[in-house]
């Protein structure tokens, strides 16, 4: 750095600067510091206001209007009409609401538990265990669009899944056209969604597991604790904060279910797989009813917010 020499020169002059000047320099430096700070935060802050804060405010504002994406007329205030319409005269919305909850109610516990089981498996001190970690993680780095197309093909009536079921059960169980059948479509989407995302949460559980000191397990073993007792009394209590994070992230991701629906079923058959976000996009974008779409998005947001707060509150209580 060439800077020191520049700096040394004035200060090493005989009769160094009077104290008053030094103080002024200090104040200027502090002011310069906050000027630099504003300059460095400004680009990010500007972009976040433009593409996060304003859209959030718009989601609130537009929900109370009849705004359309392309319209010669300015949006008109319609009060709570959009919300009333959603809950009283839009059966597809109600269906989307229920489907989204069913999806989350199954995915959250199953995915969290499976991820924990996998994390415990790959936390064993066994040769080659890193490779299993990598394999379990591969679907996470694969695009959900690709995965939806692939499973769409495998779920066909005469597709790979049915032929594997046939082979594995020696013909005892007959598959169906999984996505075409209203009673199996959502379940089929649940399976592939868990298949895709579980590796992510395995890694998070794993990093939680690795923060638990080995000495605790040694102590438990010396007290004669078996594997289950070690899990119950050492592992589980050590994973509490990890669990909160995992439950919140899985819940939010599950409630946002969209791509699988858009690629595989378009909400069908007979609205068996329509979801809140899919319905919001259908209304707010495809049918250009921005105001109504914003209202549905807002309902989705409020649910996410409430669940995140409730989960935090519940886990805080237990501590």
């Amino acid at each position: 750095m060439a800077i020191p020499t520049q700096q040394v020169a004035p200060q090493s002059l005989p009769g160094s600067p009077p104290p008053s000047r030094r103080r002024r320099r200090g104040a200027a430096a502090a002011r310069g510091g906050s000027r630099s700070a504003y300059a460095m935060v400004a680009p990010a802050a500007f972009l976040l206001v433009l593409f996060l804060v304003i859209p959030v405010l718009l989601a609130f504002g537009l929900s109370f209007t009849n705004a359309r994406l392309i319209s010669p007329n300015p949006p008109r205030f319609v009060g709570l009409d959009n919300f009333v319409r959603a809950f009283t005269s839009d059966p597809t919305f109600v269906r989307s609401f229920i489907n989204t909850f069913v999806f989350a109610a199954v995915v959250v516990p199953v995915q969290a538990a499976l991820a924990l089981f996998m994390a415990i498996l790959v936390n064993q001190k066994l040769r080659g265990v890193t490779w299993f970690r990598v394999i379990f993680f591969v679907p996470v780095v694969t695009s959900i669009v690709v995965i939806s197309i692939l499973w769409d093909f495998m779920y066909q009536g005469d597709g790979l899944i049915n032929s594997m079921i046939d082979t594995l059960t020696f013909g005892a169980f007959q598959g169906t056209d999984w996505l075409g059948n209203p009673s199996t479509a959502l379940g089929a989407i649940i399976v592939l969604s868990i298949w895709q995302a579980v590796g992510f949460h395995m890694i998070i559980w794993l990093s939680g597991l690795q923060t638990i000191p080995e000495e605790l397990y040694e102590a438990a073993r010396m007290d004669g604790a078996n594997a289950w007792q070690q899990f119950k009394d050492v592992t589980w209590p050590g994973l509490r904060s990890t669990m909160v994070f995992i439950l919140v992230t899985i819940t939010i991701a599950a409630l946002g279910l969209f791509v699988q629906i858009d690629v595989m079923t378009q909400g069908g058959p007979r609205n068996a797989t329509t979801t809140l976000v899919f319905h919001a996009v259908r209304k707010g974008y495809r049918e250009q009813e921005t105001g109504y779409g914003a209202a549905i998005s807002l309902i989705f947001f409020v649910i996410v917010l409430v669940i995140a707060l409730v989960q935090r509150f519940l886990t805080r209580e237990k501590d």
Binding site: I3, V122, I135, W195, A280
Partner: protein, 315 residues
């Protein structure tokens, strides 16, 4: 190393105890079985769809369908060729889609690293009025899922001003739809990236800054010459965590880009959304856009996994 030592010790113990040797060996074999069998089964469960995809991309449609009933579905046997790939390139503007995605992803990740790390620097190492408020607001925005604001955001970007050339003269127009910037600019600033940088930077000793200040360095110099070079892992983590969603973008470009030559790879796949798609070509296309990410993942798997793990610090 440690395992082989343990194994040798175990063997020594078994020799000493003689009669227990058989029991110990059985116990060990059982332990290995309990350890490996579920992992192998799960590995098959996670790999079979992807193996099926890659293998099918090499087969003609008729053979894909006839192989489904047998284990051949997972084996590259029979009439193997790259014909599906050739056909995909003929039928779909694959190169264009890939270049679009590369451009959009590179700019989101690259500009994001600069903008978010600068913000993280100011938030973690500088004292200024409003710092706490801004930091709290940024953390608060982490709870907002993109799906919530997608619809209002389409409306919003359709109203934003843009510069267009008319007869060689720059003119104002309104609406960001159908452009590259509408796919890039909204995703550069990222609250979670800022949060990760802030966390990481605050672990670097402040004495470094003070020493550089005494030497007369400005804050930007400190950021560029001291903090950035010391923060490789944070930059790698943020790059990985922003790369994946940028490459996989679907909902947003689906809504804001109708013009085919601006579409990214995931939306380009809509070419195949029809009643009876040519499955061999579909598998070739999905393999093509998945392979680069998989290769990158396998090459940097340690960094990938630790990035994901560090994203858990939020809790």
């Amino acid at each position: 190393m440690s395992t082989s030592i343990a194994a040798r010790q175990g063997a020594a113990r078994e020799r000493r105890h003689g009669g227990d040797a058989d029991a110990a060996a059985t116990r060990r074999r059982r332990r290995l079985l309990v350890g490996y069998v579920p992992m192998v089964l799960l590995a098959l469960f996670f790999l079979f769809p992807l193996v099926f995809m890659f293998v099918s991309s090499l087969k003609p449609d008729a053979q894909i369908l006839s192989d489904i009933g047998s284990p051949q579905a997972f084996l590259p046997v029979g009439d193997i060729s790259g014909q599906n790939y050739v056909d995909v390139f003929d039928r779909v503007p694959v190169v264009r889609f890939v270049l679009n995605s590369v451009l959009v992803t590179t700019l989101i990740v690259g500009l994001g690293l600069v903008v978010n790390s600068m913000a993280g620097f100011a938030l973690s190492r500088l004292e200024w009025t409003g710092r706490k408020v801004v930091l709290t607001m940024i953390i608060a925005t982490l709870i907002v899922p993109f799906e919530t604001i997608a619809i209002p955001m389409v409306y919003w970007v359709s109203k934003l001003p843009t510069v267009v050339l008319e007869n060689g003269l720059p003119m104002y127009d309104f609406g960001w739809l159908n452009s590259y910037h509408v796919q890039i600019v909204p995703f550069i600033a990222n609250a979670f990236s800022i949060f990760l940088f802030t966390q990481y930077f605050s672990t670097i000793p402040r004495s470094f800054d003070e020493a550089a200040r005494i030497d007369g360095a400005g804050w930007f110099t400190i950021y560029r010459r001291i903090i950035v070079p010391l923060s490789g892992p944070a930059f790698a983590t943020v790059a990985i965590l922003t790369f994946l969603p940028a490459w996989n973008q679907y909902l947003w470009p689906l809504m804001v880009v109708q013009q085919e030559d601006l579409r990214p790879v995931m939306v380009g796949m809509q070419y195949f959304f029809q009643v009876n798609p040519a499955w061999g070509e579909v598998m070739a296309y999905t393999s093509l856009i998945t392979l680069p990410v998989l290769v990158m993942f396998l090459a940097f798997q340690r960094a990938f996994v630790s990035s994901i793990a560090s994203s858990g610090v939020k809790g």
